[in-house]
Amino acid sequence: MSAIETTYREALRQALIDAMNEDPDIVVLGEEVGLYGGAYGVTKGLIDQFGPERILDTPISEAAIVGAAVGAAMSGLRPVAELMYVDFVGIVMDQLANQAAKIRYMFGGQIGVPMVLRSQGGTGRSAAAQHSQSLEAWMAHVPGLRLAMPATVNDAYHLLRHALTLPDPVVFLEHKGLYVQKGTLDTAQPDAPWGKAVVRRAGHDLTIVTYSKMLLESLAAAEQLAAQGVSAEVIDLRTLNPLDEETVANSVRRTHRAMVVTEAHLTGGFSAELSARIHESCFDHLEEPVARVAGEDIPIPVSPPLERNAVPNAQLITETGLWLVQRKAPAWAL
């Protein structure tokens, strides 16, 4: 039996260890990935196991870190660059979007950039506006990048393992609120192939499409909805690029109602892309407009009650679900 109970953090760590054991070209570089073991502990102990030549502590030079990873990836290594918080991606967007993502294309297919940029985002630690963001929409808009956002322990492991076999750059976004999440890791058995969404809970009244930590809130909401007679199907996208439109469309064509749940700001978020695609593919099947339950269009405030309310939670998802399926207006709908 290869399945064990572990945490999201440990699953990621194990993925790195297993991949590094198999592929000597994998190196990890980033701030505090070595001696410190990673700001969130994902690389703990790796420097002892693989030595400072494969686990490289870097100065606080994000642009050069990602730039060096790009050059290394073009030269025979498979770097895993760690960006401590996805909020810092603004410093490296040029290296990510103009360089890593476009090199294969600009150079007419001569070479690829097989690197993984690991980072983490999201709220939950009162880390304030510059350490709590969900910026996947920026990356999702860049042709040439793959984008994974695992929500489960098993996906943390398998999506990272798969990312470390791909010929193109992958942005791999973890969630700071998931590291301590427990679950089952079966190193021999992914939940589904890379690029396929997974139906985490089956239902027939409503489809909830989500990813990353909002999967937990969505599943909790589905439970509450069930108690009130609404059967919600919950789809975990797992990767935003590739995007599995088919699983989503097949579900919505059955349920006739859809909700998209993301932690990121509503406006211009990936929730818009998902909503648009559902409308496009399921136009004649929808009984109600697709509801976007997303983060507020405000910077993340530090104060706990504000921070909590700046992003969706199970209650909001439940209320919106009841509104969608049973036309039961919640308290906030006058």
Partner: protein
């Protein structure tokens, strides 16, 4: 008191207030009253009081994530600081910014920044405004040794030198960026060389000696006021972990003991006593400060949290429309569809 002693006494007072405040920040956390655990204490870095003291009333500054001490020395109200760190409505930033984003335009505090190197160019821009408006003001960018490896610092230095701006780059070299000792982050530790290579005056000063820091800062600031921007790096030691939860397993006790032995506060106190100050008087001052900080702590703890509605304010200026809450949108959409 001689002028010298008066100055040192004032600096000692500022330094004690910094340490005393930081102890209360730590206590806030212990009592589960802080907003989060990303609290970076400046204990060991109190020598910065020398820089702040050298600033004029009209000068401004930006700080980094470890900026409490600088702001205390500038005259922050401890209760409002602690309230902000606790995420309370009466904090400096209405509970929106927290420890890493305290600011106070009244005191020329253009803002703490949680992006390493993020606030440096803002001081350059402020200095540009002062120069253009012919105001005799200087802006000081405070940052850590970690930021010495951020490219924007060198772009900023070059701009400052090219445009002869009244700005000072003040590095607080506490030997660590998180778990990375500075010699594992920088190939050449002569940071003053870097500044000079970009056309600035540069000096490294012992941050444990607040009088020396002050004297140096006066010179650097006065040059800057005359259009000769400068760089100074204070050598000190981060007494505790990077943030409140970090126990610094990456460094050993001997090193920590040696680092903590270079205590700017103790050094100032010893000097004061050597120059004739009474221990009892200093103790009384310390106690007075402790009492002030205790009161500030209780006030912060007893303050109210902000109302949830307030979170939609301050995204744009007050006369602009506020962002539409997700619930309001959903309500409009679903009501319309339900018609």
């Amino acid at each position: 008191m001689s002028t010298d002693n008066r100055l040192l006494h004032a600096l000692y007072r500022d330094m004690r207030r910094i340490r005393s405040l930081e102890e209360r920040v730590s206590e806030l956390f212990v009592r589960s009253e802080s907003a989060g655990s990303m609290l970076h204490l400046s204990i060991g870095e109190e020598g910065i009081a020398g820089v702040v003291h050298a600033m004029e009333r009209q000068d401004s500054f930006t700080t980094h994530h470890r900026g409490h001490g600088i702001f205390v020395a500038r005259g922050a109200e401890p209760a409002r600081m602690l309230a902000e760190i606790a995420g309370k409505a009466n904090g400096y930033c209405r509970g929106k910014g927290g420890s890493m984003h305290i600011a106070d335009m009244g005191l020329g505090h253009l803002g703490a920044n949680a992006i390493v190197g993020g606030g440096i160019a803002h001081a350059v821009g402020a200095a540009l405004a002062y120069k253009r408006k012919k105001q005799p003001r200087v802006s000081v960018a405070f940052f850590g040794d970690g930021a010495m490896q951020q490219g924007i610092l060198y772009e900023s230095m070059n701009l400052a030198a090219l445009w002869s701006l009244p700005v000072v780059f003040a590095c607080i070299n506490n030997q660590y960026g998180m778990g990375t000792r500075v010699d594992r982050a920088a190939a050449n530790l002569a940071f003053d060389d870097r500044a000079r290579a970009f056309g600035l005056d540069g000096v490294i000063v012992d941050g444990a000696d607040v009088e020396l820091v002050h004297e140096t800062a006066e010179r650097v600031l006065s040059n800057a006021r005359q259009g000769k921007p400068g760089f100074m790096s204070l050598t000190c030691y981060r007494f505790y972990g990077h943030a409140r939860m970090d126990k610094s397993p990456y460094r050993d006790e001997a090193e920590e003991a040696a680092g903590r032995a270079r205590d700017p506060l103790k050094k100032a106190r010893d000097k004061l006593i050597a120059r004739g100050a009474k221990a009892a008087e200093l103790d009384a001052l310390d106690a007075e400060i402790a009492a002030e900080m205790d009161a500030a702590l209780e006030a912060a703890v007893n303050s109210s949290l902000p109302s949830v509605d307030s979170m939609f304010e301050d995204v744009f200026a007050p006369d602009q429309p506020k962002p539409v809450p997700v619930r309001t949108r959903l309500n409009a959409i679903l009501s319309e569809a339900a018609k």
